[in-house]
Amino acid sequence: MPLSFESLAEGAELPNQQRTPSTEQVLAFCDATGTRGPQFLDPEFAKEKMGLPGPIIPGNMKQGFLDQYLRRHFGAHAITRLQLNHRRPDLHNVEMTIGGEVTKLREEDGKRYADLELHIDNPQGDRSVRGAATIAFD
C-alpha cells in the first residue's frame, strides 16, 4: 500500500528493504543498458586491477533499485528529484539494505511535497550510496 502524504512525518524512517543482486541480474542490466566495463563482470579484473574481492554492481543499477524503492512506497506519486552520490562499491551476491528518512514536508503553489534522504548500506553498515529525493503528491 503506497504511503500517503498524511501518513508521513518529518524525521520518520522509511521501511528498510534488503536486496541481493545476483551476477545474472547484473548481466541482464548491462545487456539492457549497454553498460560495458570489466569491473562489472570480470572477477579477475576486479581482483587484480581494483583490489576488490569480486566484480561490482553498476551505479546506475543501484539508482534503479532506489527508484524502484520509491515507487514501491509512493506508488504513482511523481518522483520529481532523485540525486545520488555513489561512495563505495557494492559486490554481486552480497545483501544490501535500502532505506531512508523523511526530511521535510512542504506545500508550494497548492502542491504537497515530501523531501527524503535515501541510502544503501552494505552488510558492514557502510553507506555505499547517499541520496535525496522529492515526491510530489497529487
Binding site: A28, T33, D67
Partner: protein, 140 residues
C-alpha cells in the same frame, strides 16, 4: 566506439542512435525488479493515457551513463549526471543521444568537461535533457 571530440567549448558530441526493444526493457526489468505494468504491458499503459508500454526513466539514465562512460575512456570518469525526464519514450522507437561541450575547466592535474546532453525522438523532440561532468586526466 564513441569518443570525445576535440576539446573546445561548443563542440558537438557524437550522436548515438539506439532503438531499445521490448526484450531489452524486459531484461532491465528483470535485473532491477521493476514490476510496474506501464513498462511492459501495452494495455496497462493505455489505461494511464500512454500510447503503449514505455521505457523506464532509469533505463534511459543507464543508456546515458553508458554513453558518457565511453566518452570518458580511457582516462576519465563520470562524476555528475543530472537529468530531467520530460516525455515518455516507447519500446522499439528510435532515439538519439547527442549534446555538446559547454565548459572546460583545466587545473594542473586534470580537466573537468561540462556537457549538455539530450535524448531526442525521431521528430527531434527532446524526451530527456541532462547535464554532466567528466573528469579527465592530463594525458588527453
Amino acid at each position: 566506439m564513441i569518443q570525445l571530440p576535440d576539446l573546445h567549448e561548443g563542440a558537438p558530441l557524437p550522436e548515438l542512435r539506439l532503438t531499445p526493444t521490448s526484450a531489452q526493457v524486459r531484461r532491465f526489468l528483470e535485473a532491477t525488479g521493476f514490476g510496474i505494468p506501464i513498462f511492459y504491458d501495452d494495455q496497462a499503459a493505455r489505461e494511464t493515457g500512454l500510447d503503449r508500454a514505455i521505457i523506464p526513466a532509469e533505463m534511459k539514465s543507464g543508456l546515458l551513463i553508458s554513453y558518457l562512460r565511453q566518452l570518458a575512456q580511457p582516462n576519465g570518469n563520470l562524476i555528475r549526471l543530472q537529468s530531467a525526464f520530460r516525455r515518455p519514450d516507447y519500446h522499439g522507437d528510435p532515439i538519439t543521444i547527442s549534446g555538446q561541450i559547454t565548459r572546460i575547466e583545466t587545473t594542473e592535474t586534470n580537466k573537468t568537461i561540462h556537457l549538455e546532453l539530450r535524448i531526442t525522438q525521431t521528430n527531434n523532440t527532446p524526451s530527456v535533457r541532462s547535464s554532466a561532468q567528466l573528469l579527465l586526466r592530463p594525458s588527453r
